[in-house]
Symmetry: C2
Subunit: 139 residues, 2 copies
């Protein structure tokens, strides 16, 4: 196991539109594509590209969204998770489970269309950590 | 203004050594250099490199450290700030001030030896944002 690419930083927001307005106004940044729903995660997402990594703006999709509680606690929004890439999600899951790290829920398809899972923040120094299989075409 | 490189994600911890043990155990990651004190920021720092960006582990340096309160609130540690690069810190500061964003404190020398300042999280969707002049040799 080697620390892989930091694919993105997940930033929770009550309003992707409002966050995009901020990135546009302060940084001249535009989203790399339109926002889209990710029902498996209970969020609506939109990516803003820095030259080397992405900011993933995530907005609650429905009242049961897992980020509703986060936004109740941090009404202004804020950093929600970090996402690192791995070459093989099945091997990575076995690796982390073998190390005793708590994996949250099943492996599922993430915002980039590749399989992902999350590691419990208590096993990663307080940081909710997404592990994502690298898109094949990108490497 | 264009959104620059995501230089690093700042992660607060009570113990850099303990965080390094976690990154080593789970990701096989080693710090890119030894930890060092940054008295101007009131923190001790250590960088762990992903292939495209860095994790900056920050530990309080003294009881007056600005991250003591953060760690009181989040005893396990957690994501503290994002740092984006700009080509010219003076122009960037004028740009953000001109946009009405609150700049926190004076421009000072940051962990990579180049000038930095911070934007108030309330003006960046809840994300404390460091703006850092790119190291000259890196580009």
């Amino acid at each position: 196991m080697k620390l892989g690419r930091l694919n993105h930083v997940g930033v929770a927001t009550r309003s992707i539109e409002q966050s995009l307005a901020t990135y546009r106004e302060l940084f001249g940044a535009e989203p790399s594509a339109a926002s889209f729903d990710l029902p498996a995660q209970g969020v609506r997402v939109c990516f803003v590209d820095a030259p080397n990594a992405q900011i993933e703006l995530i907005e609650p999709l429905g009242a049961d969204s897992p980020i509703v509680k986060f936004l109740d606690k941090y009404p202004a929004g804020g950093q929600h998770h970090l996402c690192f890439e791995v070459p093989d999600i099945t091997a990575a899951r076995a690796h982390f489970e073998g190390k005793g790290a708590r994996v949250l829920g099943p492996t599922r398809i993430g915002a980039h269309g590749t399989p992902i899972f999350f590691l419990h923040p208590k096993d990663m120094g307080g940081v909710l950590t997404e592990i994502m299989e690298s898109p094949k075409q990108a490497h």
